[in-house]
Protein backbone atom coordinates (compact mmCIF):
# COMPACT_ATOMS: atom_id res chain seq x y z
CA UNK A 1 0.00 0.00 0.00
CA UNK A 2 1.41 3.38 -0.96
CA UNK A 3 2.39 5.41 2.07
CA UNK A 4 1.03 8.73 3.16
CA UNK A 5 3.47 11.60 2.90
CA UNK A 6 4.89 14.43 5.02
CA UNK A 7 5.54 17.45 2.81
CA UNK A 8 7.63 20.50 3.62
CA UNK A 9 6.64 23.62 1.68
CA UNK A 10 9.02 26.50 1.13
CA UNK A 11 8.07 30.01 0.04
CA UNK A 12 10.74 31.59 -2.15
CA UNK A 13 11.00 35.09 -3.54
CA UNK A 14 14.02 36.82 -5.06
CA UNK A 15 16.57 34.60 -3.36
CA UNK A 16 15.02 34.50 0.10
CA UNK A 17 12.69 32.19 1.97
CA UNK A 18 9.63 33.42 3.79
CA UNK A 19 7.28 32.63 6.60
CA UNK A 20 3.63 32.90 5.62
CA UNK A 21 0.68 33.64 7.87
CA UNK A 22 -2.71 34.01 6.25
CA UNK A 23 -0.72 34.70 3.09
CA UNK A 24 1.18 37.63 4.57
CA UNK A 25 4.88 37.03 4.05
CA UNK A 26 7.81 37.68 6.34
CA UNK A 27 11.38 37.29 5.11
CA UNK A 28 13.36 34.72 7.09
CA UNK A 29 16.60 33.78 5.34
CA UNK A 30 18.44 32.29 2.43
CA UNK A 31 18.70 28.63 1.52
CA UNK A 32 21.85 28.25 3.65
CA UNK A 33 19.84 29.19 6.74
CA UNK A 34 17.21 26.56 5.92
CA UNK A 35 19.82 23.89 5.21
CA UNK A 36 21.37 24.54 8.59
CA UNK A 37 18.26 24.99 10.76
CA UNK A 38 16.31 22.08 9.28
CA UNK A 39 19.25 19.69 8.93
CA UNK A 40 18.76 19.29 5.21
CA UNK A 41 21.58 16.76 5.08
CA UNK A 42 19.35 14.37 7.02
CA UNK A 43 15.95 15.71 6.07
CA UNK A 44 15.26 13.14 3.36
CA UNK A 45 14.57 10.64 6.12
CA UNK A 46 12.17 12.93 7.98
CA UNK A 47 10.04 14.29 5.16
CA UNK A 48 8.84 12.63 1.95
CA UNK A 49 8.70 15.55 -0.44
CA UNK A 50 9.79 19.14 -0.77
CA UNK A 51 7.63 21.78 -2.41
CA UNK A 52 9.10 25.14 -3.35
CA UNK A 53 6.76 27.95 -4.32
CA UNK A 54 7.77 31.15 -6.05
CA UNK A 55 5.63 33.58 -4.08
CA UNK A 56 6.81 36.83 -5.65
CA UNK A 57 3.65 38.65 -6.59
CA UNK A 58 4.70 39.97 -9.95
CA UNK A 59 2.78 37.79 -12.36
CA UNK A 60 4.16 39.49 -15.46
CA UNK A 61 7.57 38.09 -14.62
CA UNK A 62 6.35 34.50 -14.71
CA UNK A 63 8.15 31.86 -12.67
CA UNK A 64 11.50 32.90 -11.20
CA UNK A 65 13.99 30.47 -12.73
CA UNK A 66 16.57 31.45 -10.07
CA UNK A 67 14.60 29.15 -7.82
CA UNK A 68 15.99 26.30 -9.92
CA UNK A 69 19.51 27.14 -8.74
CA UNK A 70 18.39 26.27 -5.23
CA UNK A 71 16.74 23.10 -6.57
CA UNK A 72 20.01 22.17 -8.30
CA UNK A 73 21.95 22.67 -5.09
CA UNK A 74 19.50 20.64 -3.00
CA UNK A 75 19.43 17.77 -5.54
CA UNK A 76 23.02 16.92 -4.71
CA UNK A 77 22.17 15.81 -1.18
CA UNK A 78 18.40 15.76 -0.76
CA UNK A 79 17.33 12.67 -2.67
CA UNK A 80 13.59 13.28 -2.59
CA UNK A 81 10.92 14.46 -5.02
CA UNK A 82 11.07 18.25 -5.34
CA UNK A 83 7.92 19.93 -6.67
CA UNK A 84 7.74 23.57 -7.74
CA UNK A 85 5.03 26.09 -8.54
CA UNK A 86 4.05 29.73 -8.49
CA UNK A 87 3.27 31.74 -11.59
CA UNK A 88 4.50 29.13 -14.05
CA UNK A 89 3.44 30.52 -17.39
CA UNK A 90 5.29 28.89 -20.30
CA UNK A 91 6.44 25.57 -21.71
CA UNK A 92 10.04 26.84 -21.64
CA UNK A 93 9.86 27.38 -17.89
CA UNK A 94 8.39 23.89 -17.47
CA UNK A 95 11.08 22.26 -19.64
CA UNK A 96 13.77 23.95 -17.54
CA UNK A 97 12.13 22.78 -14.33
CA UNK A 98 12.01 19.13 -15.37
CA UNK A 99 15.51 19.20 -16.79
CA UNK A 100 16.77 20.50 -13.48
CA UNK A 101 15.25 17.47 -11.77
CA UNK A 102 11.88 18.76 -10.60
CA UNK A 103 9.38 15.97 -9.97
CA UNK A 104 6.06 17.79 -10.38
CA UNK A 105 4.67 21.17 -11.35
CA UNK A 106 1.92 22.97 -9.42
CA UNK A 107 -0.67 25.01 -11.26
CA UNK A 108 -3.20 27.14 -9.44
CA UNK A 109 -4.66 30.21 -11.14
CA UNK A 110 -3.42 28.80 -14.46
CA UNK A 111 -6.28 26.27 -14.39
CA UNK A 112 -8.45 29.28 -15.30
CA UNK A 113 -6.22 31.76 -17.08
CA UNK A 114 -3.91 29.29 -18.93
CA UNK A 115 -5.92 26.09 -19.38
CA UNK A 116 -4.14 25.25 -22.67
CA UNK A 117 -0.78 25.30 -20.89
CA UNK A 118 -2.15 22.96 -18.22
CA UNK A 119 -3.55 20.53 -20.80
CA UNK A 120 -0.36 20.64 -22.85
CA UNK A 121 1.76 19.89 -19.79
CA UNK A 122 -0.45 16.94 -18.86
CA UNK A 123 -0.28 15.60 -22.45
CA UNK A 124 3.48 15.92 -22.68
CA UNK A 125 4.60 14.82 -19.22
CA UNK A 126 1.64 12.81 -17.96
CA UNK A 127 -0.98 13.63 -15.36
CA UNK A 128 1.27 12.34 -12.59
CA UNK A 129 3.59 15.31 -13.21
CA UNK A 130 0.86 17.91 -12.60
CA UNK A 131 -0.66 19.08 -9.33
CA UNK A 132 -3.47 21.58 -8.97
CA UNK A 133 -3.56 23.76 -5.87
CA UNK A 134 -6.69 25.44 -4.55
CA UNK A 135 -6.26 28.24 -1.97
CA UNK A 136 -9.44 28.98 -0.06
CA UNK A 137 -10.90 30.73 2.93
CA UNK A 138 -14.13 30.94 4.86
CA UNK A 139 -16.44 33.83 4.03
CA UNK A 140 -19.48 33.79 6.33
CA UNK A 141 -18.99 30.10 7.11
CA UNK A 142 -18.70 29.07 3.45
CA UNK A 143 -15.48 28.15 1.74
CA UNK A 144 -14.47 30.18 -1.30
CA UNK A 145 -11.42 29.82 -3.50
CA UNK A 146 -8.98 32.62 -4.14
CA UNK A 147 -6.61 32.95 -7.06
CA UNK A 148 -3.50 35.06 -7.77
CA UNK A 149 -1.81 34.38 -4.45
CA UNK A 150 -4.96 34.89 -2.44
CA UNK A 151 -5.70 38.27 -3.97
CA UNK A 152 -8.86 37.57 -5.94
CA UNK A 153 -11.94 35.71 -4.79
CA UNK A 154 -12.99 33.18 -7.41
CA UNK A 155 -15.63 30.48 -6.90
CA UNK A 156 -17.20 28.48 -4.12
CA UNK A 157 -14.70 25.79 -3.16
CA UNK A 158 -17.14 23.12 -4.29
CA UNK A 159 -17.55 24.66 -7.77
CA UNK A 160 -13.84 25.34 -8.10
CA UNK A 161 -13.10 21.73 -7.24
CA UNK A 162 -15.62 20.49 -9.82
CA UNK A 163 -14.03 22.71 -12.51
CA UNK A 164 -10.66 21.17 -11.72
CA UNK A 165 -12.05 17.70 -12.36
CA UNK A 166 -12.31 18.68 -16.04
CA UNK A 167 -8.53 18.37 -16.14
CA UNK A 168 -6.71 15.11 -15.65
CA UNK A 169 -4.42 16.33 -12.88
CA UNK A 170 -2.51 13.85 -10.77
CA UNK A 171 -2.95 15.42 -7.34
CA UNK A 172 -4.88 18.25 -5.69
CA UNK A 173 -3.61 20.48 -2.87
CA UNK A 174 -6.28 22.04 -0.69
CA UNK A 175 -4.67 24.97 1.08
CA UNK A 176 -6.47 26.90 3.81
CA UNK A 177 -5.58 30.60 3.81
CA UNK A 178 -7.29 30.99 7.20
CA UNK A 179 -5.11 28.33 8.79
CA UNK A 180 -1.91 29.22 6.94
CA UNK A 181 0.92 29.82 9.39
CA UNK A 182 -1.35 29.89 12.44
CA UNK A 183 -0.34 26.56 13.97
CA UNK A 184 -4.03 25.89 14.71
CA UNK A 185 -4.06 22.61 12.78
CA UNK A 186 -5.26 21.59 9.34
CA UNK A 187 -8.80 22.36 8.20
CA UNK A 188 -9.95 18.74 8.39
CA UNK A 189 -13.58 19.90 8.15
CA UNK A 190 -13.07 20.61 4.46
CA UNK A 191 -13.13 16.87 3.77
CA UNK A 192 -16.84 16.79 4.60
CA UNK A 193 -17.72 19.31 1.91
CA UNK A 194 -16.10 17.82 -1.13
CA UNK A 195 -16.67 14.66 -3.12
CA UNK A 196 -13.03 13.74 -3.59
CA UNK A 197 -13.77 10.73 -5.75
CA UNK A 198 -10.56 8.91 -6.43
CA UNK A 199 -8.38 12.02 -6.46
CA UNK A 200 -5.06 12.10 -4.61
CA UNK A 201 -5.39 14.78 -1.97
CA UNK A 202 -2.74 16.85 -0.21
CA UNK A 203 -3.97 18.93 2.73
CA UNK A 204 -2.13 22.13 3.54
CA UNK A 205 -2.29 25.06 5.94
CA UNK A 206 -2.18 25.28 9.73
CA UNK A 207 0.13 22.56 10.99
CA UNK A 208 1.96 23.50 14.20
CA UNK A 209 2.83 20.19 15.86
CA UNK A 210 3.19 16.46 15.10
CA UNK A 211 -0.36 15.75 16.33
CA UNK A 212 -1.77 17.81 13.48
CA UNK A 213 -0.17 15.43 11.02
CA UNK A 214 -1.62 12.47 12.92
CA UNK A 215 -5.10 14.04 12.74
CA UNK A 216 -4.88 14.71 9.02
CA UNK A 217 -3.35 11.40 7.98
CA UNK A 218 -5.88 9.52 10.05
CA UNK A 219 -8.16 10.05 7.04
CA UNK A 220 -7.21 7.56 4.33
CA UNK A 221 -8.52 9.93 1.67
CA UNK A 222 -5.72 12.34 2.62
CA UNK A 223 -2.61 11.11 0.85
CA UNK A 224 -0.26 13.79 2.16
CA UNK A 225 -0.09 16.68 4.62
CA UNK A 226 2.03 19.76 3.94
CA UNK A 227 3.42 22.48 6.16
CA UNK A 228 5.39 25.63 5.45
CA UNK A 229 5.70 26.58 9.09
CA UNK A 230 9.32 27.59 9.50
CA UNK A 231 9.33 27.97 13.27
CA UNK A 232 7.31 25.09 14.66
CA UNK A 233 9.32 22.39 12.88
CA UNK A 234 12.89 23.69 13.25
CA UNK A 235 15.74 21.36 14.10
CA UNK A 236 14.30 17.90 14.72
CA UNK A 237 10.71 19.02 14.18
CA UNK A 238 10.09 16.83 11.15
CA UNK A 239 11.84 13.86 12.72
CA UNK A 240 9.42 14.18 15.63
CA UNK A 241 6.48 14.27 13.19
CA UNK A 242 7.61 11.02 11.60
CA UNK A 243 8.33 9.38 14.94
CA UNK A 244 4.87 10.32 16.22
CA UNK A 245 3.18 8.93 13.11
CA UNK A 246 5.19 5.70 13.33
CA UNK A 247 4.41 5.40 17.04
CA UNK A 248 0.69 5.65 16.25
CA UNK A 249 1.06 2.85 13.69
CA UNK A 250 0.16 5.10 10.79
CA UNK A 251 0.79 4.32 7.14
CA UNK A 252 4.02 6.25 6.64
CA UNK A 253 7.55 5.42 5.55
CA UNK A 254 9.62 4.04 8.39
CA UNK A 255 12.95 5.53 9.38
CA UNK A 256 15.73 3.84 7.44
CA UNK A 257 18.12 3.34 10.30
CA UNK A 258 20.19 0.38 9.29
CA UNK A 259 21.66 1.42 6.01
Amino acid sequence: MVKQRIIFSLFFSEGYYYLSRNFTLQKVGELSWLIDKFKFHQISEYIDELVIYDVSRNREKGFNLNLLQDVAHLQSFVFLPITVGGGISSTTEIEKCFREGVDKIIFSSQMFDKPELVKETIDKYGSQAVICQIDYKLINSNRFSFIYNGQKQHLSLKNHFEEILNFDVGEIILNSIDRDGTGFGFDIEVLKFLDLGNKTLIISGGAGKPDHFCEALNYSEVNAAATGDLFNFLGNGFLRVRQELIKKGMNVRKLDIDI
Partner: protein, 219 residues
Protein backbone atom coordinates in the same frame (compact mmCIF):
# COMPACT_ATOMS: atom_id res chain seq x y z
CA UNK B 1 24.55 10.30 6.64
CA UNK B 2 25.42 9.98 2.96
CA UNK B 3 28.81 8.46 3.84
CA UNK B 4 27.08 5.81 5.97
CA UNK B 5 24.75 5.00 3.12
CA UNK B 6 27.54 4.53 0.60
CA UNK B 7 29.17 1.97 2.86
CA UNK B 8 32.76 1.01 3.08
CA UNK B 9 32.99 -0.51 -0.40
CA UNK B 10 36.18 0.66 -2.07
CA UNK B 11 35.54 2.69 -5.16
CA UNK B 12 37.38 0.51 -7.64
CA UNK B 13 35.44 1.85 -10.53
CA UNK B 14 37.08 5.22 -11.01
CA UNK B 15 37.62 4.58 -14.70
CA UNK B 16 34.01 3.69 -15.27
CA UNK B 17 32.46 5.44 -18.24
CA UNK B 18 28.84 6.20 -17.49
CA UNK B 19 26.67 7.93 -20.04
CA UNK B 20 23.20 9.37 -19.52
CA UNK B 21 20.78 10.01 -22.35
CA UNK B 22 19.47 13.57 -22.54
CA UNK B 23 16.09 13.04 -24.13
CA UNK B 24 14.75 16.45 -23.12
CA UNK B 25 12.11 14.41 -21.30
CA UNK B 26 13.77 13.49 -18.10
CA UNK B 27 14.77 14.83 -14.75
CA UNK B 28 18.35 14.71 -15.92
CA UNK B 29 19.73 16.95 -13.18
CA UNK B 30 18.42 14.78 -10.37
CA UNK B 31 19.64 11.48 -11.83
CA UNK B 32 23.03 12.95 -12.67
CA UNK B 33 23.57 14.23 -9.13
CA UNK B 34 22.40 10.96 -7.61
CA UNK B 35 24.92 9.03 -9.71
CA UNK B 36 27.67 11.53 -8.91
CA UNK B 37 27.20 10.95 -5.19
CA UNK B 38 28.81 7.54 -5.84
CA UNK B 39 30.61 7.58 -9.18
CA UNK B 40 33.38 9.95 -10.20
CA UNK B 41 32.20 11.00 -13.60
CA UNK B 42 28.95 10.87 -15.46
CA UNK B 43 28.75 12.15 -19.04
CA UNK B 44 25.80 13.21 -21.10
CA UNK B 45 25.77 11.06 -24.23
CA UNK B 46 26.52 13.39 -27.12
CA UNK B 47 25.20 13.04 -30.65
CA UNK B 48 28.46 11.64 -31.91
CA UNK B 49 29.19 9.22 -29.05
CA UNK B 50 29.03 5.51 -29.78
CA UNK B 51 27.06 3.71 -27.07
CA UNK B 52 29.54 0.86 -26.95
CA UNK B 53 32.23 3.21 -25.64
CA UNK B 54 30.30 3.35 -22.36
CA UNK B 55 30.51 0.82 -19.52
CA UNK B 56 27.01 1.82 -18.48
CA UNK B 57 24.27 3.63 -20.36
CA UNK B 58 21.57 5.30 -18.27
CA UNK B 59 18.04 6.14 -19.42
CA UNK B 60 16.02 8.26 -17.03
CA UNK B 61 12.56 9.26 -18.22
CA UNK B 62 9.45 11.15 -17.38
CA UNK B 63 6.65 12.02 -19.73
CA UNK B 64 5.09 9.75 -22.28
CA UNK B 65 6.22 6.46 -23.81
CA UNK B 66 5.81 7.62 -27.41
CA UNK B 67 7.73 10.83 -26.74
CA UNK B 68 10.77 8.90 -25.46
CA UNK B 69 10.60 6.40 -28.34
CA UNK B 70 10.35 9.36 -30.74
CA UNK B 71 13.49 10.83 -29.22
CA UNK B 72 15.36 7.56 -29.84
CA UNK B 73 14.09 7.37 -33.41
CA UNK B 74 14.85 11.02 -34.22
CA UNK B 75 18.35 10.78 -32.80
CA UNK B 76 18.98 7.49 -34.63
CA UNK B 77 19.60 5.71 -31.36
CA UNK B 78 16.71 3.22 -31.31
CA UNK B 79 18.41 0.37 -33.16
CA UNK B 80 21.81 1.15 -31.71
CA UNK B 81 20.42 0.97 -28.17
CA UNK B 82 18.58 -2.28 -28.89
CA UNK B 83 21.74 -3.81 -30.38
CA UNK B 84 23.85 -2.50 -27.51
CA UNK B 85 21.61 -4.15 -24.92
CA UNK B 86 21.25 -7.40 -26.88
CA UNK B 87 25.02 -7.61 -27.24
CA UNK B 88 25.34 -7.40 -23.46
CA UNK B 89 25.98 -3.68 -23.00
CA UNK B 90 25.02 -2.54 -19.52
CA UNK B 91 21.84 -0.49 -19.25
CA UNK B 92 20.24 1.25 -16.28
CA UNK B 93 16.63 2.29 -16.90
CA UNK B 94 14.53 4.43 -14.58
CA UNK B 95 10.75 4.88 -14.82
CA UNK B 96 10.14 5.43 -18.57
CA UNK B 97 13.65 4.04 -19.07
CA UNK B 98 12.29 0.81 -17.55
CA UNK B 99 9.10 0.89 -19.63
CA UNK B 100 10.75 1.26 -23.07
CA UNK B 101 12.42 -2.14 -22.61
CA UNK B 102 9.04 -3.78 -23.28
CA UNK B 103 7.16 -4.37 -26.53
CA UNK B 104 4.66 -1.52 -26.29
CA UNK B 105 2.62 0.59 -23.88
CA UNK B 106 -1.08 1.28 -23.58
CA UNK B 107 -0.03 4.89 -23.14
CA UNK B 108 1.06 5.19 -26.76
CA UNK B 109 1.27 3.71 -30.23
CA UNK B 110 4.98 3.17 -30.78
CA UNK B 111 6.93 -0.03 -30.37
CA UNK B 112 9.29 -0.31 -27.46
CA UNK B 113 12.71 -1.93 -27.62
CA UNK B 114 11.10 -5.35 -27.11
CA UNK B 115 13.88 -6.69 -24.91
CA UNK B 116 11.19 -8.17 -22.65
CA UNK B 117 8.06 -9.59 -24.24
CA UNK B 118 5.40 -7.88 -22.14
CA UNK B 119 3.15 -4.90 -22.56
CA UNK B 120 3.11 -1.82 -20.35
CA UNK B 121 -0.43 -1.23 -19.17
CA UNK B 122 -2.45 1.49 -17.50
CA UNK B 123 -2.21 0.62 -13.81
CA UNK B 124 -5.99 0.52 -13.30
CA UNK B 125 -6.55 -1.71 -16.32
CA UNK B 126 -7.84 -4.64 -14.30
CA UNK B 127 -8.50 -3.23 -10.85
CA UNK B 128 -10.06 -0.01 -9.63
CA UNK B 129 -7.17 1.72 -7.88
CA UNK B 130 -6.26 5.30 -7.01
CA UNK B 131 -4.39 7.05 -9.79
CA UNK B 132 -1.61 7.93 -10.14
CA UNK B 133 0.47 5.56 -8.06
CA UNK B 134 2.34 8.25 -6.14
CA UNK B 135 4.44 8.12 -2.99
CA UNK B 136 6.77 5.74 -1.24
CA UNK B 137 5.80 2.09 -1.44
CA UNK B 138 7.33 -1.09 -0.06
CA UNK B 139 9.14 -3.24 -2.58
CA UNK B 140 9.89 -6.91 -2.06
CA UNK B 141 12.53 -8.76 -4.03
CA UNK B 142 12.35 -12.39 -5.04
CA UNK B 143 15.81 -13.16 -3.75
CA UNK B 144 14.66 -12.58 -0.17
CA UNK B 145 16.47 -9.30 0.31
CA UNK B 146 15.45 -6.99 3.11
CA UNK B 147 11.80 -6.50 2.33
CA UNK B 148 11.19 -3.39 4.34
CA UNK B 149 12.55 -0.93 1.84
CA UNK B 150 10.30 1.60 0.25
CA UNK B 151 10.99 3.59 -2.87
CA UNK B 152 9.32 6.60 -4.51
CA UNK B 153 6.91 5.84 -7.35
CA UNK B 154 5.04 8.32 -9.51
CA UNK B 155 3.32 6.84 -12.54
CA UNK B 156 0.05 5.94 -14.28
CA UNK B 157 1.42 3.14 -16.48
CA UNK B 158 3.55 0.15 -15.65
CA UNK B 159 4.11 -3.59 -15.81
CA UNK B 160 1.37 -5.21 -13.80
CA UNK B 161 0.69 -8.66 -12.39
CA UNK B 162 3.63 -10.66 -13.75
CA UNK B 163 6.50 -10.60 -16.18
CA UNK B 164 6.76 -13.33 -18.85
CA UNK B 165 9.16 -16.06 -17.92
CA UNK B 166 12.58 -15.12 -19.23
CA UNK B 167 15.71 -17.10 -18.34
CA UNK B 168 17.85 -13.96 -18.43
CA UNK B 169 16.01 -12.40 -15.48
CA UNK B 170 18.04 -12.83 -12.30
CA UNK B 171 16.10 -10.68 -9.87
CA UNK B 172 12.62 -9.20 -9.69
CA UNK B 173 11.07 -6.64 -7.40
CA UNK B 174 7.34 -6.16 -6.74
CA UNK B 175 5.16 -3.58 -5.10
CA UNK B 176 1.44 -3.40 -4.42
CA UNK B 177 -0.88 -0.47 -4.91
CA UNK B 178 -4.47 -0.86 -3.69
CA UNK B 179 -4.28 -4.60 -4.38
CA UNK B 180 -2.71 -4.28 -7.84
CA UNK B 181 0.67 -5.93 -8.11
CA UNK B 182 3.23 -3.89 -10.01
CA UNK B 183 6.64 -5.04 -11.18
CA UNK B 184 9.03 -2.52 -9.68
CA UNK B 185 12.45 -3.89 -10.62
CA UNK B 186 14.09 -6.23 -13.12
CA UNK B 187 17.71 -7.28 -13.20
CA UNK B 188 19.58 -9.41 -15.71
CA UNK B 189 23.30 -9.78 -16.28
CA UNK B 190 23.38 -6.50 -18.19
CA UNK B 191 20.09 -4.75 -17.45
CA UNK B 192 19.02 -3.08 -14.25
CA UNK B 193 15.68 -1.37 -14.63
CA UNK B 194 13.31 0.09 -12.07
CA UNK B 195 9.87 1.66 -12.19
CA UNK B 196 10.55 3.69 -9.05
CA UNK B 197 12.85 6.69 -8.86
CA UNK B 198 15.98 5.77 -6.90
CA UNK B 199 17.18 9.38 -7.19
CA UNK B 200 14.11 10.45 -5.16
CA UNK B 201 14.02 7.57 -2.71
CA UNK B 202 16.13 9.00 0.08
CA UNK B 203 18.57 6.55 1.68
CA UNK B 204 16.96 3.48 0.10
CA UNK B 205 17.61 5.10 -3.26
CA UNK B 206 21.19 5.93 -2.38
CA UNK B 207 21.80 2.29 -1.43
CA UNK B 208 20.69 1.26 -4.93
CA UNK B 209 23.98 2.83 -6.01
CA UNK B 210 25.78 0.14 -4.01
CA UNK B 211 23.68 -2.53 -5.75
CA UNK B 212 24.62 -0.99 -9.09
CA UNK B 213 28.30 -1.01 -8.19
CA UNK B 214 28.19 -4.71 -7.22
CA UNK B 215 26.28 -5.51 -10.39
CA UNK B 216 28.84 -3.64 -12.52
CA UNK B 217 31.59 -5.57 -10.75
CA UNK B 218 29.98 -8.87 -11.72
CA UNK B 219 31.10 -8.38 -15.30
Amino acid sequence: MLKKALGNLPLKLNDLKIGIFDSGLSNLGAVEKWLLSKFDTVSIISETDQLNTYNLVVMPGIGSFDALIDFLLRSNRFNELKDFIEAGGKYLGICLGFQILFTSSEEGKKNGLGIFKDKIRKLDRFKKIRMPHVGFNNTTFNNDENTDKSYYFVHNYGLIDEVKSDPSIEKLGYTDHDGQRIIAFIETKNIMAMQFHPEKSSLSGVSVLNTIEQWLNNA
